[in-house]
């Protein structure tokens, strides 16, 4: 129960960060793809710099998770096509609706009802991938 509340709290803070950083705003994504401001690059760059630092510290000092297990980040399968093709399809949608999966949930919570259409379509897109995945180059 305690753990469940903790996960909700993590999501809660993440939601506030996404909204307040304006990373959940269509305008910031549009601006980012036009290279007209540093804002989004600053957010992603800072997150990445600290992210690399945290992961390196975890690896070097073999830091364990709270329940005492080793923290292992499973490497992704080696491939080019799935990451490139999938990435391009994702990028097209990300720029069009200005929201990636995290912000989709944040914006529904914020009360933007049209985003529910985006969410249901994204779930349908995920479903379609599951149906046709064996026919795609991976």
């Amino acid at each position: 129960m305690m753990k469940q509340i903790l996960f909700i709290l993590i999501g809660f803070f993440f939601g506030i960060i996404m909204f307040k950083s304006e990373a959940a705003s269509w305008f910031r994504i549009y601006e980012m793809f036009r290279f007209e401001a540093f804002h989004m690059y600053g957010i992603i760059g800072t997150a990445l710099a600290f992210g690399i630092l945290f992961v390196q510290i975890i690896k070097r000092y073999k830091i364990k998770s709270f329940d005492g297990n080793e923290i292992k980040i499973a490497p992704k399968d080696k491939s080019f096509s799935r990451y490139m093709y999938g990435g391009i399809i994702f990028g097209l949608g990300w720029a069009l609706v200005g929201a990636c999966p995290g912000p989709i949930f944040v914006l529904i919570g914020a009360g933007y009802l049209p985003i529910i259409i985006v969410f249901l379509s994204a779930a349908l897109g995920t479903f379609l991938y599951g149906v046709v995945k064996d026919k795609l180059p991976h």
């Binding site: 753990k3 469940q4 903790l6 909700i8 999501g11 809660f12 803070f13 993440f14 939601g15 506030i16 960060i17 996404m18 950083s21 269509w26 305008f27 910031r28 980012m32 793809f33 804002h39 600053g42 957010i43 992603i44 800072t46 997150a47 992210g51 992961v55 709270f66 490497p75 080019f80 799935r82 990451y83 490139m84 999938g86 990435g87 391009i88 399809i89 994702f90 990028g91 097209l92 949608g93 720029a95 069009l96 990636c100 999966p101 995290g102 989709i104 949930f105 919570g109 914020a110 049209p114 985006v118 379509s121 994204a122 779930a123 349908l124 897109g125 479903f127 149906v131 995945k133 795609l136």
Partner: protein
């Protein structure tokens, strides 16, 4: 307290995103938002149509709780921690908005796409559906989205994530620079 109500600086935001990832790692989990879409499909019974959705989705319930929290966070941030104003985007970006029929006197999200009244135009609905479809399909095909690849994956210096992020940008640039003039 005033700083809470201003839009947050990119440095603070970026640091807090990395912190979110760190806490999830310390809890034995991985930071990734789009997996929830797969879990959602599985919970809705998509396993009947594809083996891709036949997995122990109940073990991913923690991630649904994170998403539930994110929705609460979005509610609190938009209603109590801001006036949900239009971001202070650059003058150059503002100047370009008129070419795609978006007003510079706007809200946090452009009302031309994300207001209830905009839904009376079938074109808006088509845009939202196509955008959502490609986000969902592309994220699963690429094995992750912005959180899983651009933040988690690159933090772990994974080559697949770098390829995916380059793909995200190719797609985004094509959409904004080549397709927007045709769509709007």
């Amino acid at each position: 307290m005033d700083f809470l109500f201003q839009p947050w600086h990119w440095f603070v935001s970026g640091f807090l995103i990395a912190l979110t990832m760190l806490i999830l790692l310390l809890m034995g989990k991985r930071f990734g938002m789009s997996s929830n879409l797969r879990t959602f499909c599985a919970a809705c019974g998509a396993g009947k149509a594809s083996a891709f959705f036949r997995f122990d989705w109940k073990s991913d319930q923690w991630n649904l709780l994170v998403v539930f929290g994110a929705m609460l966070g979005g509610f609190v941030a938009s209603h109590y921690l801001s006036a949900a104003e239009m971001p202070a985007i650059s003058e150059a970006t503002k100047a370009s908005l008129s070419s795609i029929q978006v007003s510079v006197d706007n809200k946090y999200l452009p009302v031309e796409l994300f207001s209830i009244s905009a839904l009376s135009d079938i074109k808006t609905i088509v845009i939202l559906v196509i955008g959502g479809l490609s986000v969902g399909f592309g994220a699963r095909y690429a094995g992750g989205c912005t959180s899983g690849h651009a933040i988690s994956g690159l933090s772990n210096l994974q080559l697949p994530s770098l390829i995916a992020v380059i793909g995200f940008f190719i797609g985004g640039l094509v959409m904004v620079h080549l397709l927007f003039p045709l769509i709007f």
